[in-house]
Amino acid sequence: MTSTILIRAAAMTDGSRSDILVRDGIVAELGGGLSATGATVIDADGLIALPGLVDLHTHLREPGYEQSETVLGGSRAAAAGGFTAVHAMANTSPVADTAGVVEQVKALGDAAGYVTVRPVGAVTVGLAGTQLAEIGAMASSRARVRVFSDDGKCVSDPLLMRRALEYVTTIDGVVAQHAQEPRLTEGAQMNEGTVSGELGLPGWPAVAEEAIIARDVLLAQHVGARLHVCHVSTAGSVEVVRWAKARGIHVTAEVTPHHLMLTDELVRSYDARFKVNPPLRREEDVLALRAGLADGTIDIVATDHAPHPEESKDCEWDVAAMGMIGLESALSVVHSAMVETGLLDWAGVARVLSSTPARIGGLAGYDRGIAVGAPAELTLYDPAASRLFGTADLRGSAVNSPFLDRSLPGRILTTVHAGYPTVLDGELVDVDTVARSAGATRG
């Protein structure tokens, strides 16, 4: 079932207003006063049309941890948050370190149909940090993996990291590093600083992240590879990346929505919803990350959406799982942290949440944004809305959001993926309809 969708009078990121006609999976026409017979008409007056959001850092948990999340559930959370593509991290069980696993994840994503699911391949076998995974096989598989990461663990062995950077160059991929010096963070529970000292929780020092980033950018320079740094969380890391970019090193960096808004003061509650890796940092770090994102030092926002079952958070801080979900709230948080503060305009939001993450991930079709002939991947956002964010706003299996009971601006009203709607009138389109649409698109 292919859809024809006519979106009337949306605000485009360049400030203009335009109708958008979606037909046969692509943006067929842009301009004023468009018409199409039989089209689903969406009144977008007052809404911003953003290109479909692309998350470079999502944990879908399947295979192996279906009690936390599934590809289908995570895809629905993504669509509800305005995403049309996600990169599924490799720390599943079995680990996504073979062509078989990445193809399975891609197939599950295709069948669900809510978003493009791009598997991320592991850098090392079993994320063990000792032996390179079959990067070539994953790259040439049907999943066409281009991003490789041991996320959750750092590729801390410098020689292995060097080899990975070099090897991935041969398939035009990128290593996405989880920068965490393991010895400096043994048993770490939260940011090391004033609050950890008072709470008596073992600290995760900023230097453990900054030292690895510094090492890796120098390695990337030495071997002429490109490097992507996951979830940059400290002011010092921003400085290191800025320095590297000034030297012409091919490094890109991401920041999570939660690191753009939340600080370690929240840990005083010992509420495990605020336990995440890398940990929530200080106010100074939040401000430096915002500035870094605004000036382009940090290239993109990526959610590090990490679903956990309730029992993993409803317990003492020490034994709680690290991670928080973010797909459903990401755009609102960026709106609050970056747009309302005047640091980023909506074109900037499209850059950091769509075109640049697609480029880093080697995902085609997003480079021109919403343009005639481009794949119809877009979302309609009401920037005037405001809501007390709650579990009712969550669409995946997990509820471990740090933003619950916070007032957040904006609301996703429509998401169009591959030319068919996945969200309409603020509600997810049902599973069967989306699956049928996806099937028809694949033909």
Binding site: E192, T194, G197, G200, E311, D314, C315, W317
Partner: protein, 317 residues
């Protein structure tokens, strides 16, 4: 007082009230009949996820002298599902009808998690959580200092101007944390002495001065020198090179003990490593408050149990 989770959130008036009630409890300990009927019919559970016989029997004596029923629950849980077990244990205790839970737990914040949870309604008393706080230890130390200084006229008094030097593993010490917050809110001037490796990051924001040199600190003739226990496992983690070197620089040996002023006191939360952080001469001297601390611990814990368990439910401190 709904719960006692930390000394950081005790204001001066509340702290003095607890110490004053403890004075009354201490008076009772001097009588032939040491028992009070106050908490008859109430159930106090000692929920210990860590071994600590000293703290447990102190709380047990306190609860029994107030006529409460005491259930000792030693729950050294498996590491597999500690999270589940705290919730399950709490719900079990709620079902049994615990009115107060005295909890010792290796995880910092576990008592607060319990108090905030919907798992159990009981009053929660923190008997030591990870490397966070040990509020009744802080209170009994403050009580001991106040009694030594003011004697029978201690009621209602604060610790204004009293100079306390705390020496040792500040980083991992819940006793140090509870003492820093409490003693400073009572008006004492707290000075911390430790090797830099055992000084917490961010200690600059604490209401205390800091130094690395114990001799320098003792030369200022502090009123109180509180020695902290050195855990053996700190050595293997390279916080300091050897026990001998630690003892040489941060131990209260005989030479340093001789430097102390006439009216000063030596405190230790126990158990002591004699010869490591404190010499036997110092520990057994008239300046030492070690046994008073133990005795006062019962009075202070009686006061805390009384204040947590009396009063209407939902009353704020």
């Amino acid at each position: 007082m709904r719960h006692l989770l930390s000394t950081r959130d005790l204001d001066r008036a509340t702290a003095i009230e607890i110490l004053d009630v403890a004075e009354d409890m201490a008076d009772v300990q001097q009588r032939a009949v040491r028992k009070l009927p106050t908490l008859r019919g109430r159930t106090v559970v000692n929920l210990f996820f860590e071994d600590s016989t000293r703290t447990r029997i102190s709380f047990e004596a306190a609860a029994k002298r107030l006529s409460a029923d005491v259930i000792n629950f030693s729950a050294k849980g498996s590491s597999v599902s500690k999270g589940e077990s705290l919730k399950d244990t709490a719900q079990t205790l709620a079902a049994i009808g615990a009115d107060a839970v005295v909890i010792r737990h290796p995880a910092s914040g576990a008592p607060q998690v319990l108090a905030q949870s919907a798992w159990i309604e009981a009053g929660i008393v923190n008997a030591g959580d990870g490397t966070h706080e040990h509020p009744t230890q802080g209170l009994l130390d403050a009580f001991t200092i106040r009694r030594r200084i003011h004697g029978d006229a201690a009621r209602g008094r604060d610790l204004d101007g009293i100079r306390v030097t705390i020496v040792g593993d500040i980083l991992h010490s819940r006793v140090a944390r509870s003492n820093v917050w409490l003693l400073s809110s009572l008006g004492a001037e707290v000075h911390l002495v430790a090797p830099a490796t055992l000084m917490p990051v961010g200690v600059g924001s604490w209401p205390a001065t800091r130094g690395y040199d114990l001799d320098e600190a003792l030369a200022t003739k502090p009123d109180v020198v509180m020695m902290l226990r050195v855990q053996a496992e700190r050595m293997s983690a390279a916080f300091f090179p050897t026990a001998r070197e630690y003892s040489r620089y941060w131990g209260l040996d005989d030479r340093r003990f001789a430097m102390l002023g006439a009216g000063s006191m030596v405190m230790h939360p126990g158990p002591m490593n004699r010869g490591l952080e404190i010499s036997s001469r110092a520990a057994d001297s008239a300046k030492s408050t070690v046994l008073e601390q133990v005795a006062n611990g019962v009075s202070v814990r009686m006061a805390v149990l009384y204040l947590v368990l009396s009063g209407e439910k939902g009353e704020t401190p």
